[in-house]
Subunit: 99 residues, 2 copies
DNA sequence: TATTATTACTTTGAATTACAAAGTACTTCT
DNA sequence: AGAAGTACTTTGTAATTCAAAGTAATAATA
């Protein structure tokens, strides 16, 4: 038997970061408030998890406008997509290893 | 879009507890040292994560012997199996939600 | 024009969690 | 007798997580 968790990415241990990534994998971009609504976190908390993802270059920020209102949207980077897919792969292997 | 993480079990956010559960799902029972080897944790750390799982009634302890040596083995409970399967289900739904 | 609201944060502080290391009790092997 | 193994518990620290409050900029409302 081999270590079932060695290929899991520590960044994605956090359910909130998992949720963010999974939302960003589906949609080309998602704005701050929609993410907040979706994942049910406080804005401060969301901002700090997004920051962690940004620091790891898994997520990009795009500051824009809807009409005249500020609208910050987030999107996964290539690296983020790759890392997340690898994590899912590791999860699948862990589950498969369970026959 | 619905919250992708609401059905994830918080107990299984921890990679180590995930690893323990996944090892116990495959094998009817696994002893302390094999788990330690497999998951690569210190014994104190392993013991405390096992305790968390025991407290949640996801895991049972069986104290026995191999010859004359003490041998403590761990096994998933019915409840643990159910909870873990539900968690995996939630993960799968999260991934599937990603098309 | 004043004020209230909204967006997207940052900062602060507290609580929780995780971890390694050391200590313990019991047994077994040499 | 002494060393080693098993399965812990305890201790202390570090890291993580979180809510709440504060902030700055703009926009909507009265």
């Amino acid at each position: 038997m081999k270590n079932p968790i060695e290929n899991l990415n520590k960044i994605f241990d956090s359910r909130i970061r998992l949720g963010i990534m999974s939302a960003l994998m589906v949609n080309d971009e998602v704005n701050f408030n929609d993410l907040k609504e979706l994942i049910q976190v406080t804005d401060g908390n969301l901002a700090s998890h997004l920051k962690t993802l940004e620091e790891n270059a898994y997520v990009d920020v795009k500051k824009g406008f809807i009409g005249r209102k500020t609208n910050t949207t987030y999107a996964v980077t290539k690296a983020g997509e790759k890392a997340f897919k690898a994590h899912l792969q590791a999860l699948e292997e862990m589950i498969k290893g369970m026959g």
